[in-house]
Amino acid sequence: MAKKATNSVRGVNYSTSPLLASKTPPWRSRFLVLLVGGAFLVLIARALYVQVLEAEFFQKKGEERFASTLSLSASRGRILDRNGQILAISVNAPTISINPQQFKANADQKRQLVSLLGMKPQELETKLAEDSAYAVLRRQIDGGVAQEIRKLGIKGITLEPGYLRRYPENESAAHVVGFTDIQDEGQEGIELTFQKQLQGHGGSRSVVKDRLGRIVEDLGEPVDPRDGSDVQLTIDSKVQALAYQRIRDAVQQHHAKAGSVVVLDAQTGEILALANYPSYLPEERHNRTGAQLRNRAVTDVFEPGSTMKPFVVSKALELGLVKPDMMIDTSPFMVGPLRVNDDPHPHPALTVSQVIQKSSNVGTVRISQKIEARDMGEMYQALGFGSKPQIGFPGAATGKLRPWRSWKPVEKATMSYGYGLSASLLQIARAYTAIARDGELAPLTLVKGEEATASVQIFQPETVRTMRQMLRGTVQPGGTAPLAQPLGYSAGGKTGTAEKMENGRYKSGNYRAWFTGISPIDKPRVVVAVMLDEPKPIYFGGLVAAPVFKGVVEQTLRTLGVPPDLEVKPQVVAQIGGTEPNKTTSH
């Protein structure tokens, strides 16, 4: 039919068309074949490029159109005290961002938003005018504020998950717990030491999203996030808080530069409290000074002074060289170039017990001269002096103790009353556990369930029982620290006061005062060590550190539920179950 039509129009038969008569040159057909063939080659090459050479890239690009990978955040583990109270916890603190192109809010919503975020309206307008699809409004906002913002239902606002570290105990436990930086990495204290354990491991999940950004399907198995593990400390947050409070008040009252207090469980060696003042707020990253950050009880070393005397006397008792009521000549005498005396309160002669009670340097040197340097040196070493406490704390000081072989007689003399060696407050407190637990030095632990190093037997049980009775004398009238006597509990301890050494010289006028003690004396439960740095104008350990000891012991033992072992004049007026009032049982 088509043919006919053509015929009718043109009036020329196709087969007789004159065009057919003209000869086509052969290159035309070859050219066409080449052209088409070439086009196919290009196609094959492109296919090869897309499907083989760059397959991965194109697949990825394709997936991006519908699939997206979400990162799942994991939270950092908590730090708990011995009773499970929270010392550090990560809370949700989202980052709030906007998409300026999609942002839709009425004037009222905008007003509420800026007031919730604490921004100036101008600031929000500047962000909204940005020519991008993403602008951060605020990072790490409070979870409560985030909830309010969610409720506003403003379009174009995104809350990205994030965490903020909270420290409920604030400054009182700051030196133990430490803090994290903005990347959630531990910077100090337990946060730093246990970074690996506390750290969470984020997960990821591949999903298919629809046009509105809703997840419609999972692609493959998601990788679940793993939250960090909790760390439980031996610290008792109640004891910690009251110890901090006591040392803070004492530092302020005595115009001291700083102060520290350590409370140890006398039987297990667990650290119940470790507080320093000045302290800092772990949640505030600004305005921290090195002086605030220093965990003085662990990092600062000083000459332990008189607190060493009980060990020397114990050794002499143990070796049978002295007896508690033996008289010792305490008149001043010379050891090499050194004149040993007991200024400002000289005594002609004292019993061994009184040497401890009155803290006599002459008496202690006389007693130490009966002991071999080797016995004394090895005992100091066994008590943990000159070796780093194994508590895994950053910056724990080792202190100095020269090997006994190199001691000269004058050095042995000064070392007997605690000069010529150095130790941290924590080391001194630990050494006292040997007196508190029948001659055995307790291993120090700060983390619950952590393998403790074996305890070491240094003295015989009878020796230290005698020594504890002698130490009791110091807190009684006539002793060096009657202010340390707690109400209702028996206690014993030793004061220390020393001029501070700076750059190898004693700095006149600047003192350090401390007190280390045990309570109750028959069945010791706690060892408490208190140190004040540069108290003014009163600087004697028995006057500034001893009252802190008393306060901490009274409240700690009460918190631990230890009944008083001393008779107290009762003021109880209530009557329980028909029993006589005004009756206090003593144990």
């Binding site: 929270i86 909270r166 105990e169 997840i215 419609v216 399907e217 009460r558 008083p564």
Partner: protein
Amino acid sequence: MTRVSLILLLALMGSGLYLVKVSYEARKLFADIERAKADEHQLAAEATRLDAERRSEGTHLRVERDAREKLQMRLPTPDATLYVAETRAASGGAR
């Protein structure tokens, strides 16, 4: 033969439509689960936050300060405490 084909065609169409319905429902349920999971996550986070907040409101330091300053309370000393000996009937010890 034609009839069998017709039946198969109808069955195919039916199952096709059913597939559409089922996958629609599956997506809807999936979206619900997603929402519920997000809610769960958010509530858990909120609970943690509130717990932390409650702890900071009730720290020992703060309680002690408020008790002392606002309520004029003081800590009981052993001389103002009546210690009851522990018996079998009433275990508890010091109070």
